[in-house]
Amino acid sequence: MSGEVNHNHSELSEVQLRVKALETILIEKGYVDPAALDALIETYETKVGPRNGARVVARAWSDAGFRERLLADARAAIAELGYGGRQGEHMVAIANTPARHNLVVCTLCSCYPWPVLGLPPVWYKSPAYRSRAVFDPRAVLAEFGVRLAPEVEIRVWDSTAELRYLVVPMRPDQTQGWSEERLARLVTRDSMIGVGLALSPERAAALS
């Protein structure tokens, strides 16, 4: 589309040049405030990410009342922890059980609950994940190191409208009496998408 942008800066890739051109034009025309770009970048680099979702899950593990509210009205429950807004306007939380494992995908694009998980990783947006998660999720899970017993139901949620899904993984054993903060360190991003499980205390200790 903009192949004629000059290529004098040979160290810059074609897409870098195109994005630079877009930024220059939008600022020069007064459509975009450079301070807004800085604020947006800072927000998604530092304020929004899976640590938010981990706090939500840890609270659900610790507080039965919160868990009930989370499963009944996820947006309102998540707002209790101060998270919400763009791409989290219509939240649904789904809890794993020994008999049922939940997995979230957006086969049509890249829908993802930004306020609790941040921006999606590259693999979540890849054609491989988007096509295989609905067709052969057991093999997808195995690739992520999750091997479920054959009798466990795999429940895949394709986010085809404006609902955004958060998986509540099962609480690992041997965590009785743990604080929410300590529990949150067991909750990985992948476990809240459903391609992983929460870490065992041993695994978390080995990783830290």
């Binding site: 589309m1 903009s2 897409v15 040049l17 994005v19 051109a21 877009l22 930024e23 220059t24 034009i25 939008l26 025309k29 007064g30 459509y31 975009v32 405030d33 450079p34 301070a35 807004a36 770009l37 800085d38 947006l40 927000t43 998604y44 680099e45 919400g84 807004g85 763009r86 791409q87 989290g88 306007e89 219509h90 086969t107 049509l108 694009c109 890249s110 941040g118 990783p121 693999w123 890849s126 054609p127 491989a128 994940y129 096509s131 295989r132 609905v134 052969d136 999720p137 057991r138 690739e143 992520f144 139901e153 429940r155 895949v156 949620w157 394709d158 986010s159 085809t160 404006e162 609902l163």
Partner: protein
């Protein structure tokens, strides 16, 4: 589509891989706040890239391509400006602007898509429904793998902006949205995992009684 092979994961993946990705993401959000298009139009702009380009490009490159299309189609930016990488014409009047100081407020408010219902929902949890066989050339959110399939209503989610209309300037035309679940074998045939259940969130016009 199938045959994309293993899922390529990256340990400790950063939020953005390059400076330009941060800027493409931020520019897309800031330009959307100008109020000249909606999210459904944005999705449509991206998914109507030539299929080979859509599959080959990296994610934020697709976003940049989508933004270029939207800016051109709304006459906010001209072809000539895009080619030369600088402003040549006066800005289009009546275009909103997101101030840096308002970013946090804008993100916290979000863009709710639910709307008051104009009619009662036609279906209830437990109803068996068939998704329509339809192949509109325009935007739709009924995935191809789930067309002409029988599922069961799991939840009635409320009334939401209808993407098929909203993406083409046809107005919000709110419709009831249902979580409809299918047995894996209904979608993929006899060889599918017998313990697989897949759901989609489907708008009422996509559905008919089974």
């Amino acid at each position: 589509m199938m045959g994309f092979g293993p899922i390529a994961r990256e340990p400790d993946e950063p939020t953005f891989h390059h400076e330009w990705e941060k800027r493409a993401h931020a520019l897309t959000l800031a330009a959307a706040a100008c109020g000249q298009w909606n999210l459904d139009m944005t999705r449509h702009a991206r998914e109507t890239l030539p299929p080979a380009a859509y599959l080959a490009k990296s994610y934020y490159d697709i976003w940049a391509c989508g933004l270029e299309k939207l800016l051109l189609s709304t006459d906010m930016v001209s072809e000539q400006e895009m080619k030369q990488g600088k402003a040549l014409l006066a800005p289009r009047p009546g275009v909103g602007k997101l101030a840096g100081a308002d970013v946090a407020k804008m993100l916290a408010k979000g863009t709710p898509f639910d709307r008051p219902a104009r009619t009662p929902a036609l279906h209830a949890p437990g109803d068996a429904l068939r998704t329509k066989v339809m192949h509109p050339k325009t935007h739709t959110r009924l995935p191809r793998y789930a067309r002409g399939k029988i599922g069961v209503v799991e939840a009635v989610r409320g009334c939401f902006v209808f993407p098929d209309s909203d993406a083409h300037g046809g107005g919000e035309d709110p419709q009831w949205c249902y979580t409809l679940r299918f047995a894996g074998r209904e979608l993929w045939g006899a060889e599918a995992d017998p313990r697989l259940i897949v759901s989609i969130d489907a708008f009422e016009p996509y559905l008919e009684r089974a």
